[in-house]
C-alpha cells in the first residue's frame, strides 16, 4: 500500500509538471515531447490503478501513434518562424488572477485530500484482457462497430483534406 502512495505522488508530480511545460513552451515540438512524457506518466498511473491493458494501449496509441503524427506534421510544416506574441489575453488581469487562484486551490486540494471515506476497495483485482474483450464484444458490440466506421471516415477525411489540389 505504501508503494502505491509513493508511486502515485512521483507520477502525479511528473504528469502535472510535464503538462505545465506543454502549455508553457514556445516551441511546439518541445511541447509535444513533454506531452509524451505526460502520457507515459499517465500510463504509469493506469498501472497503479490495476489496468495494465489500458496502460499499454495508452502508450501504443497515444504516445506511439498520435503524438508521432503531431511531431510529423510539425516537421512537415516547418513552423520555426518565431511569433512576436505567444500568449493571448495578456491585457485583462482579472480573469488571469481568478484562473491562477482556482488552479492553486485545486493543487492544495490534491495535496491535502484525505483517502477516507472514498478509499478504494482492497480487492486489487485487475481486469484481464479476456474480461475486457468479452464485455467489448457482447455489451458494447454496437459502439465497437460504429468506432470502426468512424476510423474509416477519419482516414478518408484526413486524406481528402490534406491533399494538394
Amino acid at each position: 500500500m505504501i508503494w502505491h502512495t509513493i508511486i502515485f505522488w512521483i507520477l502525479a508530480v511528473l504528469c502535472v509538471g510535464c503538462a505545465l511545460c506543454v502549455v508553457w513552451q514556445k516551441n511546439p515540438v518541445v511541447s509535444a515531447v513533454f506531452l509524451v512524457g505526460s502520457f507515459l506518466a499517465l500510463a504509469g498511473l493506469y498501472l497503479n490503478l490495476q489496468a495494465p491493458f489500458l496502460a499499454t494501449i495508452q502508450i501504443l496509441i497515444y504516445a506511439g501513434a498520435i503524438m508521432v503524427l503531431f511531431v510529423f506534421v510539425m516537421m512537415l510544416l516547418d513552423l520555426h518562424h518565431p511569433f512576436d506574441l505567444y500568449f493571448r489575453f495578456t491585457k485583462p488581469k482579472l480573469p488571469k488572477t481568478i484562473a491562477l487562484g482556482l488552479f492553486i486551490w485545486l493543487l492544495c486540494a490534491l495535496i491535502l485530500a484525505p483517502a477516507f471515506p472514498l478509499a478504494f476497495p482492497e480487492s486489487g483485482q485487475s481486469f484481464t484482457v479476456a474480461q475486457i474483450a468479452t464485455l467489448l464484444f457482447s455489451k458494447y458490440a454496437f459502439p465497437f462497430e460504429l468506432t470502426s466506421l468512424l476510423l474509416l471516415v477519419a482516414m478518408v477525411g484526413g486524406v481528402v483534406l490534406a491533399k494538394k489540389k
Binding site: W3, V29, V33
Partner: protein, 350 residues
C-alpha cells in the same frame, strides 16, 4: 513486495541488462568479421586475437573523440534524442522469458523480468516509442539531410509497424493469450512456426524495417543522405544510436524466437543430451534450466546471424518501392493470415 522479492527482481534486471549491453560489442565484432567473410575479405584482425578487442578499441575511440554539437541545433532535444532511441530498445526486453523457472534456496525464480499478462502488447508499445529518437534527432540537428532521413525513417517505421501488429494477431488467435510466458509453455509440442508460417514471414520482414536494417536501410542510406538522421551526431551520441539499433535487433530476434521458435524450449537435439546428463527431471533441476537458457541464447544468436547475413547480401529498397511493399503487399498478407487462421481454427485444424 518483500525485500527478498525485490532483491531477486533487482538481480534479474542487472543480469539481463548487463548481458544485453555486453552482447552489443560481440555483435559488432560478428558483424564486421561476418560481413568481411561474406565479402571475401579479412575484416579486423589486428587488435587482439581474431580482432576480438576491436569493439573495445571502438568504445575507447568513441569516448575520447570530440563530441560535436552544431551551433544551430536545439539545445534540449539534440542530446535527448539518442536516449529516446536507446531506452525503449533496452526496456522492451523485460517481458521476454529467457528460461523457465529456476529453484534456488527453496524459492522458485521465474526467468523473466516481468511476467505481465499483456506481454506482446508491451513489446509492440515500447517498440513504437523508438520512432521518437529518430524524429527528434533529425529535427533538432537543423540539417537538410537529417530531417529528410528522419522523415523517411519514421514514415517507414510507422508503415511497417502496422504490418508488424497485424501479423501478430494470427499467433494471438492461435495461442489465446498475450502473456509471452504462456505462449512459450504452449509451444512444448509444436513450435509456433508450424502453426503460423505466413505470420512468421510477415513478422520477420516487418522486423527488418522496424530496425532500419538493410534491405530497408534507406533512412541511413550512406550513399544518398550522408548519414541520414544521425549525420550531426559524433562520439558518444552516435555510439548510443548504434547501440540502440543493435539492442532493437536483439529484442526483435528474441521476440521472433519466443513467438515462433519455441522460446526456451530445448532445441531438438538437446533432450537426449539432457537425459544422458541426468538433468532431465522437470521442473526442478538447475541443469535443465541452464540448458533451456542455452537453447534460447543459441536460437537468438541464429536469428542475429540471419540479420547480419541478409544485410550484407541484399541491395537497398528505393523509398517508393519500400512504401508500396509495406502497404500493398505485407499488410494484405497479414490480413490474409488472419483470415486463414480464423478458418483453420473454425475447422479445428489448429
Amino acid at each position: 513486495m518483500t525485500l527478498l522479492n525485490f532483491t531477486i527482481l533487482a538481480a534479474k534486471v542487472v543480469l539481463v541488462m548487463s548481458v544485453l549491453l555486453s552482447t552489443v560489442p560481440v555483435l559488432v565484432w560478428v558483424e564486421r568479421r561476418g560481413s568481411a567473410f561474406i565479402q571475401d575479405r579479412l575484416g579486423p584482425n589486428l587488435v587482439g586475437p581474431f580482432g576480438l578487442f576491436q569493439p573495445l578499441a571502438d568504445v575507447i575511440k568513441f569516448l575520447f573523440k570530440e563530441d560535436p554539437i552544431p551551433i544551430e541545433a536545439h539545445r534540449f532535444l539534440f542530446p535527448l534524442a539518442p536516449l529516446c532511441s536507446l531506452v525503449p530498445a533496452a526496456v522492451t526486453f523485460a517481458a521476454i522469458p529467457f528460461g523457465d523457472t529456476i529453484e534456488l534456496w527453496e524459492k522458485t525464480i521465474v526467468l523473466q523480468i516481468a511476467d505481465i499478462n499483456v506481454g506482446i502488447l508491451y513489446v509492440v508499445a515500447f517498440g513504437s516509442l523508438g520512432i521518437y529518437g529518430i524524429l527528434l534527432a533529425g529535427w533538432s540537428s537543423n540539417n537538410k539531410y537529417s530531417i529528410l532521413g528522419a522523415l523517411r525513417s519514421s514514415a517507414q517505421m510507422i508503415s511497417y509497424e502496422v504490418a508488424l501488429g497485424a501479423s501478430l494477431i494470427g499467433p494471438l488467435m492461435v495461442y489465446g493469450t498475450f502473456s509471452l510466458r504462456e505462449i512459450v509453455h504452449l509451444q512444448a509440442g509444436h513450435w509456433g512456426i508450424l502453426l503460423q508460417p505466413l505470420a512468421f514471414i510477415t513478422f520477420f520482414i516487418s522486423a527488418f524495417a522496424e530496425c532500419n536494417r538493410l534491405p530497408f536501410d534507406l533512412p541511413e542510406g550512406e550513399a544518398e543522405l550522408v548519414a541520414g538522421f544521425h549525420t550531426e551526431y559524433g562520439s558518444i551520441k552516435f555510439a548510443l544510436f548504434f547501440m540502440a539499433e543493435y539492442l532493437h535487433m536483439i529484442t526483435i530476434s528474441a521476440l521472433t524466437v519466443t513467438l515462433f521458435f519455441g522460446g526456451w524450449q530445448l532445441i531438438p537435439g538437446l533432450t537426449p543430451l539432457a537425459q544422458w546428463m541426468g538433468v532431465a527431471t522437470y521442473p526442478t533441476s538447475i541443469g535443465l534450466s541452464l540448458l533451456q537458457v542455452l537453447s534460447f541464447v543459441l536460437k537468438v544468436g541464429f536469428f542475429l546471424w540471419i540479420f547480419i547475413w541478409i544485410r550484407w547480401t541484399f541491395p537497398r529498397f528505393r523509398y517508393d518501392q519500400l512504401m508500396a511493399f509495406g502497404w500493398k503487399i505485407l499488410f494484405p498478407m497479414a490480413l490474409m493470415n488472419i483470415f486463414l487462421t480464423t478458418i483453420a481454427i473454425y475447422l479445428k485444424w489448429i
